[in-house]
Amino acid sequence: MRSLAPLWLVAMSALDPAGEQAGHIAGTFWLFTGVLSAIYLLVLVLLLGALVRSRGGLGREPAVERRLTRFLAAWAGGTAVIILGLTAVSYATDVRITGKPTQPELTIEITAKQFWWQVRYVDPEPSRTFETANEIYLPVGVPAHVILKSQDVIHSFWIPNLHGKKDLIPGRENETVITAEREGVFRGQCAEFCGFQHAHMALDATVLSRDAFEAWRESQLAPAQAPVDDAQEQGQQVFLTSACVMCHTIRGTTASSRVGPDLTHLAARRSIAAGTLPYSRGNLAGWIADPQGLKPGSQMPNVTLTAQQLQTLLAYLDGLT
């Protein structure tokens, strides 16, 4: 599922809604823009008219005032009506985008950490629960109930094409609903300053057809690919005997730590380090060799590996599709 498009080509636009909630928000945005633009233009026109007419001198009759008073009253009334109307629209949109489905078909739990996203797909059947990192996949047309938690500081979950922003606050659970309506590849980002690398805390969102989504889910449930050749075998040994095992999980091995992202299906992801780099073996090599050079202040430390160790490790990780 790796897109070959460079990340900067992936649009992140709230005005290009691909989801139901984003559609409501965009619609409200355009309504407000339209109404307020119209009013703005009207005011400009009136102002222009006032400027033009005032050139004819200042000795106006008081009688004109009465007409103006009625006009002003109508103007004030109209303004009030428009404000109330827009408020009502805003309120209605709010209600519509925060409604929670009673029987959510899909539940996703996202825990934000500095500076990455831990994503858990929850299922009533516990053995069908799985975890991934820095990416979410959504089926078209299915409302996804997203539960938002934070491990450390306040972050904000924002996929502009699909929904508005929702904070992840430590110590509480927030929730939101996302209904994607169009297949495609989108990008999300942390929208609340959370520390040194707040700018490099992005999220890949992919919307698939229902069948493709189920296929993806099945592939994620499977444990990690076993090594197929010597290089991968050695690479797995490097993983298990050096610092990697202190922070990462690869299901199917003894590595099961949650400090860092779950790497079970790393090679199937579109980007690494929370959207900092597109996934490729070369980028992965650079990331492992010097993470603090690429994302200084992130929690991945510089680990000393020999060139041989790094190469075999890459062979192993690149096979984790």
Binding site: Q151, P170, V245, R251, S256, R258
Partner: protein, 573 residues
């Protein structure tokens, strides 16, 4: 009454910590009784040379006493026929010192088991050893686990039909629990039943007929866990095993699921926190009852199971009785696994009862742990209303003497990271006394009437076992070193003696070579409850010792480390 086959007549020996297969811990010797116990005095002592928690029961077989010490797990044989009981031989398994780093709750050992001229016991670094009882020569030594996975072994084995049954420890280290049967002659593994994983590993096959619907299903040891979590799921068997020779079933429990943080393991988490009945020859499961589905509070299900034949609602039933960690006394039909009753013996607010129709424990929503939030005043605490320390049953009074605690806790779940060989817990806990202020209690429970007959409140938690005798006495020890005898019928204290260190061991009674009745107990504070003294820890941090430090911050002033065997008897006439 205990079933006759499982509780044969007392021959004056004490061949296994539970006394017999029915686990009555009852001595038929009555030379020391309520009238004479006031004269009880120390006959001899023996220093084990180890200063950690002494949880073992001394064994006595035909004039020789056998003691297993905490790490380094020395086995001593004392010659009771000689004055002062000199050491006949000693066996030193020399376990790996690094095993001390993966033992959650002090380096204890709960004792050996004697059978057919051989002694069997476990070492901290996962060996089961067979030693010739007469000479101390090592017969075999089998390695069963790996400390690098966080495994240790602390339990006392049980020998059934030529098989030595042993279980591992390490639920706090993400260990996969098991019960293994070794051939008593050769030490080879006969069968191994895991506590999690597919049915083929858990030895669940055609013989398996659980009573409740919730225990039925295929590969529940996998499907009730998130993927691959069962591999580090806990369910160790570090406690007690009982055996019914008539039904030919062994009964034992599985401990807590790992990690303590329940949100990391949604699902029922089978087969942890429950009671298994198995065929001792093949290990195949007959029934299982999960006491704490999706355990929330580290309520291991490994306590003792006392076999009784008693009337339930007027009809005679064959049952096992278990004073459980979650505060209920369970009476379970030992043929089918049906829960006949579950009654509170301690203050509990984290659950509201057991539904006898479905077998479910009804958890209280307000007391469920949540990540990042502190839930306060959860009763009973993580070590439970009663931990491993075993109760005793007296057929003369019909009462079960339960040594337990009255401690509550605050709990905060945090994310647990599994790194093999390091703790896999995920909770900050802080404990303190429950309602009433007393941290311990000895309750005399009537299983037929399903109520307490009497109880004694203790200031410190009770972590020692109890002994009941035909002299209508109950013996137990406190954590500050008092060894006490109370009247079995009324609970009146009749005698006490201050030993050198806190008592967390199991008292036993035997007939010595000179025909007199003796009472023996090991004194040496430690275990989870006493680790603050045994490890010289700092009570300024209330979360020390997984929260227990806050429950006994005064323990360092009340007792000191030690390791001594005390043997008492009445003065010679």
């Amino acid at each position: 009454m205990p079933p006759a086959a499982a509780a044969p007549a007392d021959d004056g020996n004490w061949v296994m910590p539970a006394k017999n297969y029915a686990s009555t811990r009852y001595s038929e010797l009555d030379q020391i009784d309520t009238r004479t116990v006031g004269d009880l005095r120390v006959e001899f002592t023996f220093s084990t040379g180890v200063e950690r928690g002494h949880e073992a029961a001394p064994l006595v077989v035909d004039g020789t006493m056998y003691i297993v010490t905490p790490y380094p797990n020395r086995l001593y044989a004392l010659d009771l026929t000689q004055p002062g009981a000199p050491v006949k031989w000693k066996y030193e398994p020399k376990p790996a010192a690094a095993a001390q780093g993966v033992a959650c709750c002090d380096f204890v050992n709960r004792g050996a088991a004697f059978s057919d001229g051989r002694l069997f016991f476990n070492t901290l670094d996962n060996f089961t050893v067979a030693v010739d009882a007469a000479t101390g020569a090592e017969l075999w030594k089998t390695r069963l686990g790996d400390i690098n996975k966080g495994e240790t072994m602390t339990m006392a084995p049980l020998v059934v039909k030529g098989k030595v049954l042993v279980g591992n420890s390490g639920g706090e280290f993400g260990v996969r629990g098991w019960l293994t049967a070794l051939d008593a002659g050769t030490g080879k593994i006969a069968w191994r039943a895991f506590a999690t994983g597919p049915d083929s590993d858990v030895l669940i096959g055609p013989e398996y007929q659980p009573f409740y619907a919730k225990e039925k299903g295929k590969d529940l040891g996998v499907t009730t866990w998130p993927p691959n979590q069962w591999e580090i799921g806990g369910g160790t068997s570090w406690g007690w095993i009982s055996y019914d020779p008539e039904l030919d079933l062994i009964y034992y429990g599985t401990a807590n699921p790992g990690p303590w943080n329940p949100e990391q393991r949604p699902g029922d988490n089978k087969w942890t926190g429950g009671i298994f009945a198995r065929n001792p020859d093949t290990g195949q499961a007959r029934w299982f009852y999960q006491v704490v589905p999706h355990d929330l509070f580290d309520h291991d299900g490994i306590n003792e199971l006392i076999l009784l034949d008693m009337p339930v609602d007027g009809h005679p039933r064959k049952v096992v009785v278990r004073p459980e960690r979650n505060g209920y006394v369970y009476v379970i039909d030992r043929g089918t696994g049906e829960v006949l009753s579950a009654d509170l013996f301690a203050y509990v607010n984290s659950s509201s009862g057991v539904d006898l129709k479905t077998g479910d424990l009804k958890y209280v929503e307000a007391k469920q742990p949540h990540m990042g939030q502190v839930v306060r005043e959860i009763c009973p605490t993580a070590p439970g209303a009663k931990d491993w320390n075993p109760s005793a049953f007296s057929p003369r009074t019909g009462l079960i003497y339960i040594p337990h605690m009255n401690v509550c806790m605050d709990w905060e779940s945090i994310e647990a990271n599994y790194i093999a060989g390091t703790p896999y817990v995920g909770a900050n806990v802080r404990m303190y006394a429950g309602p009433g202020g007393n941290r311990g209690e000895l309750s005399a429970w009537d299983p037929v009437k399903r109520a307490k007959a009497w109880s004694i409140k203790e200031d410190l938690p009770l972590w020692s076992g109890t002994l009941a005798t035909a002299g209508d006495l109950v013996f137990y020890g406190t954590m500050d070193g008092w060894f006490k005898a109370v009247d079995a019928r009324s609970g009146v204290e009749l005698w006490r003696f201050k030993t050198g260190s806190g008592i967390i061991g199991q008292p036993v009674s035997y007939r010595g070579p000179d025909g007199r009745q003796y009472i023996a107990v090991l004194s040496g504070i430690g275990g989870w409850a006493g680790a603050i003294v045994a490890g010289d820890l700092d009570p300024r941090d209330p979360t020390a010792v997984k929260g227990f430090a806050a429950a006994v911050p005064d323990l360092k002033e009340r007792t000191t480390k030690g390791g001594m065997l005390y043997v008492f008897a009445l003065p010679r006439k």
